[in-house]
């Protein structure tokens, strides 16, 4: 029988994979995808806790997380497009102009 603890363990694993991806990858778009993976993992934990408690609050919060993630992706990708237009590169290593 699958208990909510199984789902939460899966959510922990996916969250860690996303976090390591954010640290390791260089392409800004791939980093964004890793952030999305982390948000999805947290959503899974919310839904699993909602199942455990038997009420719907966790599902509502997961719904709000989805909406906020959509807004974040829209603005983030617009910023990426602007940076790419100026620098011709999507790598985070090249975005060091503000340093100098």
């Amino acid at each position: 029988m699958v208990s909510p603890a199984h789902f939460i363990a899966l959510s922990v694993i996916l969250f860690v994979i996303g976090g390591v991806g954010v640290l390791v990858r260089r392409n800004a778009i791939v980093i964004f995808m890793c952030v999305e993976l982390m948000l999805n993992a947290v959503n899974l934990a919310f839904v699993a806790f909602s199942r455990m408690h038997g009420n719907l609050d966790g599902q509502v919060i997961a719904f709000f997380v989805m909406v906020v993630a959509a807004a974040e992706v829209v603005v983030g990708l617009a910023i990426l497009t602007t940076i790419f237009r100026a620098r011709r590169s999507a790598s985070v290593d090249d975005e060091s102009l503000l340093k100098y």
């Binding site: 909510p4 640290l23 959503n43 455990m52 408690h53 719904f63 989805m66 959509a70 603005v75």
Partner: protein, 279 residues
Amino acid sequence: MSHTVLASGMAAETQSLTFWILAVVSVTAALVLAPRAVHCAVLLAIVMLCLAALYALLGAPFLAFVQVIVYTGAVLMLFLFVLMIVGVSSRDSLVETIRGQRLAAGLVGIGMLVLLSLTVGHAAIGPAAPVGPNYSATNVNGLAKLIFTTYVYPFEITAALLITAALGAMVLAHLERTGPKPTQRTLSRLRIASGRSAPLPGPGTYARHNAVDMPALLPDGSQSELSVSPVIAGRQDPRLSELGAAPPADPQAPGGTLPPDSDSSEPPGGDSEHEGARW
């Protein structure tokens, strides 16, 4: 009422089998280190579809559908559109620019995993609640009731956030025009004055094939590298080397490096009209 999306009525063995298959597939797809961003997007789509199925397994059919429609449908399509702008061939450089960054990231990951596992392991995660009315066909009704009563203020704030994000994206994607917009009259005047009233040849013009991977020929007979997309030009190289060596110099086209299959009986008109402005 039996619900197709709702897996609460499933047998326990089927439930656990479904969970394990989905868990293995999603973790594998998340772990693959694909250098190309497009492959990463496809792998992320796999993870999101698996998560949608897991939501259905957890008795959240509305969230499962929203996951497929909003995440896999809208957000990932947005990612792919931006990838089209940035370049489909954009890949991650796998060279370490900061010394020891991979190692540190791995250590941080292991530490995070240990910390979260200990926290979750110490928490009292009870068994699933008995299947109540929240997990049957009234799941959407219950969610709607919660969103529009208890969570109505967060809901309104979310609406404001979405409007702000849409406006911000429009402002960021907007290009400022530096000069006045050329009218049709000035454009046609310039075109006539330039001496070239027809547009410049596209890829494949004067070649025996009109495929996009055939470069256009400049009036002096040389190939215009600008006329072929760099992605296609990159793919074309191994095939050209398979076909034969470097193309022989064509005596009819001075200075030209025509590909071996381009017809030398169709020399480009060696007129000097190529000085016209490019439209």
